[in-house]
């Protein structure tokens, strides 16, 4: 296994987005919350556009619309006008305010501004305010996402009673993933808080009216209860303790933290199922065992098509680790594991999930670096978000879409990765993609596999 960091001064075709984007997605996963970006109007609009192109849903994000004066004299008055306007128009239960490079560089003190704003209301009802520091020059969208999870827990996990159950912190996964996680956890019949949960808000049914804040999301009561749970399950092998909401709950509220990888593939999902089983004292249900059994059956049916096929995986670090676990357990050869993130932990995560594999691991990679690597590695398949399409096309390698963003297909929010069923979906698509390639290239045009 080799590790590389980019020697280039310039980032070409980034394999990451900025922190406020992740923050916006996380806030969308809290019931009645309105995301608000404290900075220039463009930040909110670009992020909306980027998210809409993936989720195909309205993603209303407010902005404090900085102007020249704001940058000189501070953004407090703009921010406060904005909070009032959002409160009036959207009537949210919470306004989640994330910062930008601009706000951070001029040194905005968000908590103090929010305190003053609430004081000025003199007790009149006003949405809760959740400030989070997410400068775009620090980390990636994943860091912004995790910063919101941690901040919301710090600010709102206030329960003093032990209420039992588990907290589940899945990280930035798809709407379908969140929905399926709820099925899995629900099958153990245990109370839980899944934070955040944008499975309904960012994949909402069409209704008879335009709904300013779509139904769904983790409720504030569920968030409060997090301090009283028996355990936290955090699905990340790369998240640093100081950035983790789960670590905060462990240190400050005495909620034991269990850290797993994203449950992608049989082994990583087994770890989750075993943990849930241990925490609840219940065996996996017949339904879940059935899902697992069918998956193994499928692995066997398709094993020859994937064996020792070279695969390149890219995207968020935890997704890359999870997908690597899956491809390794089905006998594929991961040749490149790359991420725009740079936690310093990706290589170790890959070693844990695929100890017998020796892929090139690249943190802080952009698509130029990925393309350059793949030109030499000559993979049979790429797995990752739609931003890799350009590379796949250039190199003539088939692409199985996974993760975020999916800008060139519909259904990005419905892509399932997690659990046995997610592995089933991925496995079928991987096998069929490879079969299709062979079939298309064959002079015969076989009509059986």
């Amino acid at each position: 296994m080799t590790e590389n960091s980019s020697a280039s001064a310039v980032t070409t075709n980034a394999c990451k987005q900025c922190a406020p984007l992740g923050a916006t997605v996380a806030f969308k996963g809290i019931e009645g919350a309105m995301p608000f970006i404290h900075g220039g109007q463009g930040c909110a609009t670009y992020i909306r556009r980027y998210l809409i192109s993936h989720f195909k849903e309205p993603v209303d994000v407010a902005s404090s619309s900085f102007s020249d004066d704001t940058a000189i004299f501070g953004g407090e008055s703009n921010l406060r006008v904005g909070l009032d306007n959002v409160a009036r128009k959207y009537a949210p239960s919470l306004i989640g305010v994330s910062t930008t490079c601009l706000a951070e560089t001029i040194g905005e003190n968000l908590p103090a501004i929010m305190r003053r704003h609430l004081e000025s209301k003199q007790g009149a009802a006003f949405p809760l305010l959740a400030p989070v520091s997410t400068p775009s020059y620090r980390g990636t969208h994943v860091d912004g996402f995790n910063a919101v999870v941690r901040a919301v827990i710090e600010q709102r996990a206030s329960a003093s009673d032990r209420c039992g159950g588990v907290n589940v912190l899945p990280g930035f996964v798809s709407c379908a993933d969140l929905r399926h996680l709820k099925e899995i956890i629900g099958s153990f019949d245990i109370p839980y808080t899944l934070l955040p949960d944008y499975s309904d808000t960012l994949d909402a049914p069409t209704q008879s009216d335009y709904v300013p804040l779509a139904d769904g999301g983790t409720t504030l009561a569920e968030i409060a209860a997090m301090a009283g749970r028996d355990a936290t399950i955090q699905m990340s092998r790369t998240l640093a303790p100081e950035a983790s909401g789960g670590s905060w709950l462990a240190e400050n509220r005495g909620v034991p933290l269990h850290t797993l990888g994203l449950p992608i593939g049989i082994r990583e999902t087994d770890r989750l199922v075993d943990l849930l089983s241990g925490l609840t004292g219940r065996d996996a249900t017949k339904w879940l065992i059935g899902e697992r059994g069918r998956l193994i059956d499928a692995y066997i049916d398709g094993h020859k098509y994937v064996f020792e096929k070279k695969v390149a995986i890219y995207g968020e670090e935890d997704l890359v680790a999870g997908l690597t676990s899956l491809v390794a357990e089905i006998g594929m050869t991961p040749v490149l594991c790359a991420s725009g993130g740079a936690s310093g932990k990706l290589a170790a995560a890959i070693r844990s999930v695929a100890p017998n594999c020796t892929p090139v691991v690249r943190e802080g990679a952009d698509f130029k670096a990925i393309t350059d690597e793949l030109r030499a590695l000559k993979p049979d398949l790429m797995i990752g978000n739609s931003k890799g399409y350009k590379t796949a096309r250039e190199l003539g390698v088939p692409l199985v879409r996974a993760g975020f963003p999916i800008h060139d297909r519909i259904g990005g929010s419905r892509l399932l990765h997690l659990g046995y069923r997610g592995a089933q979906r991925l496995f079928d698509e991987i096998v069929n993609t490879l079969i299709a390639r062979t079939q298309d290239e064959s002079p015969v045009g076989y009509s059986y596999m």
Binding site: S8, A9, V10, T11, T12, N13, A14, K16, Q17, C18, L21, F36, G39, G40, Q41, G42, C43, T45, Y46, I47, R48, R49, Y50, I52, S53, K56, P58, V59, D60, A62, S63, S64, S65, F66, S67, D68, A71, L79, V81, G82, D84, N85, R88, K89, T100, C101, L102, T105, I106, P135, S136, Y137, T206, Q207, S208, D209, Y210, V211, K387, K390
Partner: protein, 454 residues
Amino acid sequence: MEQLLAQRENQVTTVGDASFKIDCEKASLSGSVSQRACVFCGSRVVLYPIADAVHLVHGPIGCASYTWDIRGALSSGPELHRLSFSTDLKERDVIFGGEKPLERSLEELIEKYAPSAAFVYSTCIVGLIGDDVEAVCRKVAAKYEIPVIPVHSEGFKGTKRDGYKAACDALFKLIGTLPADDVPKRSLNILGDFNLAGEIWIIKDYYEKMGIHVQASITGDGRIADIRRAHGAALNVVQCSGSTMYLAKEMKEKYGIPFRRVSYFGIEDMSDALYDVAKFFKDPEIMRKATDLVSREVREIYPKLMHYRQALEGKTAAVYVGGAFKAFSLVKALRTIGMEVVMVGSQTGNAEDYQQLRDICKPGTIIADDSNPLELSSFLKQKDIDLLIGGVKERPIAYKLGVGFCDHNHERKRALEGFVGMLNFAEEVYSSVMSPVWQFAPRRERRTVAEARQ
């Protein structure tokens, strides 16, 4: 209107109101969820299609990431513009300054790609940390002997319109820097067309068929050398006037090049664009060619258009676009296929634009400046429209309300300009408005039931 914030009351009005007045060209109201982007966006969209230049975004990663290949601006040759370059500033750069990473990035890019020029876009933070971008650009330009042009596009320093201006300033610096003595007399520059879905090729073909040389396309399928020689052209034709009118005016002042405001959307405006140019050159041969071209093209598409018109007659539309000028053409183009616009708005229109919209729209039409999702959704419901024309951010508003949609912005994949574009446009509208899926949308379901009862 319940959805309107008090501070925005004067930015929405209705055609036919006794005192038609509209506030515009204002900074977006904080917390209003404006559909606008920023100064950087304005500059980026205008300069982006120049295909043989390096476009380096100086700042943290977001601004470059969100604008990577964002606009389907096609190139007939190099495709440098489709790469997203960023200095990807980190916390240490914010503290110690971004000049060194900028210089290293430029050197690396110029050595690797040998571009004809480089544009350096300043993002919000660059203005604050005090990088001397001009000095770095001068230094690198001297070293490699290509234009390296700073674009003053700090996001917060105004609105998208100011970004257009910053882009025009950058272009103006290029123009006149190569000799243009051999540019033919019968020549023009196309301004404000970005070659989305290959549109500028259609327009160029029309002008060339009329015997007119297109010197520089600014900026669709643009090339640096052509732009540097653009001062040799006899005429500037300006579409998307919001974005490039500044440049046309500057070129008129400095080089005495007159300009014509044109639009290539819809039969009427497309024809006028060709006729206006023919008139300018005062050559009956050019006018004859223009007339022939128009009649041939219209003959070709008209019967097909009437097929769509039959289905679409009497349906209503709302239009919400970036620049208001496009909206005029859309009002007319929709009439050609039997549809009436009952709500129209733009992100960056000015008073003159909105006056003109008032003049061509029917009484009762809502006109809105710098609108937002809640307002737009309330307009769509109030007018019970069948189609919304807009961009990516407007699309889900329409769809959630069971309303058809036509993307007239970055994501369009089919040319909507020219005569063939009018036909494509009609097809796009038809394929959304007439789809049977709306019968299942809850809002439409009710309407379908009501229609059945009548």
